[in-house]
Amino acid sequence: MINLHEWCTYYALDSAKMNVGVAHSEVNPNTRVMNSRGIWLAYLLLTTALHVVLLSIPFLSVPVVWTLTNIIHNLAMYLFLHTVKGTPFETPDQGKARLLTHWEQMDYGVQFTASRKFLTISPIVLYILASFYTKYDTTHFLVNTGSLLSVLLPKLPQFHGVRLFGINKY
């Protein structure tokens, strides 16, 4: 049985730590947020919490709750990862990431890193679960698939830096 720290050193994953309150030479800390310790678990717990809260609303049926979870999760993901641009703090690189969304900033634009894979696979898993629990109903299917596409397409490497119809460009 090895602990996380040893596992990280064995696999040379020194990025699984939070650089909060320490002096670090990271030019843009936004690039390392999704690799920090415990954030994947926090994200999963948050999604579960959203689902449980929706389940506790009495007048919603289970299929509706699952579709709502899927939609709200995808909407939040689209907003935080693909809409909001730049950094909330000043960076020493004179605003290099000012026009980049958080997804484009992750790991300085390197594609198919561990966090990127995780964040691509989790909406797909949520979609498969949602489509199962809605018993493959057509309306639910259309809504869920549309929502999934809206969150999967911006994650493709071909869409890096692409702004369709000039929306959200500046």
């Binding site: 004179q94 390197v110 198919f112 894979k117 797909i124 493959y136 698939t145 460009k169």
Partner: protein, 469 residues
């Protein structure tokens, strides 16, 4: 969990439409592909092949570590100053009258300033050993900032420990990538470095040519109208000097303020040469023109000229200056000004405030010197009558910069032999964007008498006649 899911799938098979199963299959294949794909950077690094590497190694010719230079290269023959650069300066062992140092108000040698500095040295020691944020803020720094803000009649001031770094840190604190800066061609080297560090788009307009600047601003306005969403996000600045070091003339500030309000640009004014020189009370070019100081967004100045201290300051509105306390690289990451020099600057400010008559005296002397140097055969005087540091250029250049410099150096040597200390204006030739022509820089200070100025003008005239014939 997966087995339960597959089991449930088999039982609910009648409910699942075919297209859905196909879609789920595609998604699962996508997941598997994702899990096995390698990370890669989007911009491919073009690695050289072995053959190309060998070719490059073959082509390379080693250069000597120290390139061969001729014996009379200017950098190998320098003048040695012994003692302080006060009114009488000892150059190469000879005592000369100083017409070369920027000691405009003669405060370098003031007994009051020296006493204050000594007592401060005894109290605080020499250095602060830390930046402003890390135990490097002393009461004298705060006092100097307050005094400067009160003197310049702005809300707040901020001190830097090195004059060159003042404007070079202030510009990148506000102007980032994508922003546009309109600069005069004669801007000094520190402004150029600040612009380079800011990574913004820099547009140069011809020196003091407001029509050229207006043309550039109009072009930018047309661009902005084509793309209003982009225009809303980019910031525009104008950077000018009050009194230019390289060109020795004053910027047309009232027209600049008019352009500022017409085209919505911010003005950064660099007042190193005009602080303590222009204006009725020495407040610089804003007082000289009677422009409201709140119209200028940032005034940056060097304390190394008129104030005879070291370092620099920026002053302006509170919310503008406060930003530099975290974003000014020279403020956050350099050791702060030694308290001895801050006390000396405060005392110099006291002297300036007690006796505002010296500015009038200095301006009169500048006009007198300017008139005395007119009509020198072979040399033309470049600069306004009010400027304390004017340039003497060759009227007819020989064609090569080194030869021009040799001729001017001969004039300087002639003057040094007759106890007049002059200097050539020096630049980093390869680094300057618009290299000014070689010149002799003559500096007028308040301590020079009429006879000394006449003597200097006479000496230069003789040298010009003798050497340039």
């Amino acid at each position: 969990m997966l087995l339960i899911y597959i089991f449930q799938l088999k039982t609910y098979q009648t409910f699942a439409p075919a297209y859905h199963l196909i879609l789920e299959g595609i998604l699962i294949l996508w997941i598997i592909r994702l899990l096995f794909s390698k990370t890669y950077k989007l911009q491919e690094r073009s690695d050289l092949t072995e053959k190309e590497k060998e070719e490059l190694i073959e082509e390379w010719q080693p250069e000597p570590l120290v390139p061969l230079v001729p014996k009379d290269h200017p950098s190998l023959n320098y003048d040695v100053v012994t003692g302080p650069p006060s009114h009488r300066i000892i150059v190469n062992g000879k005592e000369c009258i100083n017409f070369a140092s920027f000691n405009f108000l003669g405060l370098l040698d003031s007994e009051r300033v020296k006493l204050k500095a000594l007592s401060s040295l005894k109290k605080y020691g020499v250095g602060t050993c830390g930046p402003r944020g890390f135990y490097g803020t002393f009461d004298v720094h705060l006092e100097l900032e307050e005094r400067l803000a009160k003197f310049m009649r702005t809300e707040e001031a901020i001190i830097y420990s090195y004059g060159f770094a003042t404007i070079a840190s202030a510009i990148p604190a506000y102007s980032k990538r994508g922003d546009i800066v309109f600069v005069d061609e004669a801007a000094c080297f520190s402004i150029q470095k600040g612009l380079q560090a800011s990574r913004s788009f820099v547009k140069y307009f011809k020196h003091n040519d407001m029509e050229d600047l207006e043309r550039l601003l109009k072009e930018q306005e047309i661009e902005d109208q084509k793309n209003p969403r982009k225009a809303r996000v980019i910031r525009r600045f104008i950077v000018v000097e009050g009194l230019y070091i390289n060109a020795a003339d004053i910027c047309p500030l009232p027209e600049l303020v008019k352009l500022k309000y017409k085209y919505k640009v911010r003005i950064f004014l660099e007042e190193s040469m005009s602080f303590g020189v222009l204006g009725e009370y020495g407040r610089g070019v804003t007082e000289h023109f009677g422009v409201n100081i709140d119209d200028i967004d940032l005034i940056s100045a060097n304390m190394e000229n008129a104030l005879a201290s070291i370092g620099g300051f920026c002053c302006g509105r509170s919310f503008v200056i406060d930003h530099q306390r975290l974003s000014g690289q020279g403020y956050c990451f350099s050791a702060s000004l030694p308290p001895m020099l801050a006390s000396a600057a405060i005392e110099a400010l006291n002297i300036m405030e007690e006796d505002p008559g010296i500015f009038r005296v200095l301006q009169d002397k500048c006009k007198h010197m300017h008139k005395a140097l007119q009509g020198t055969p072979g040399l033309k005087t470049v600069g306004e009558p009010l400027t304390p540091a004017l340039h003497l250029l060759l009227e007819n250049s020989t064609g090569s910069r080194t030869n021009d410099l040799k001729l001017l150096r001969a004039i300087v040597d002639y003057s040094l032999d007759r106890q007049i200390a002059l200097t050539l204006a020096r630049y980093l030739d390869k680094e300057e964007r618009f290299l000014p022509p070689p010149s002799i820089r003559v500096v007028v200070t308040v301590e020079q008498t009429q006879e000394e100025m006449e003597k200097a003008a006479q000496c230069i005239r003789e040298a010009a006649v003798k050497i340039l014939k």
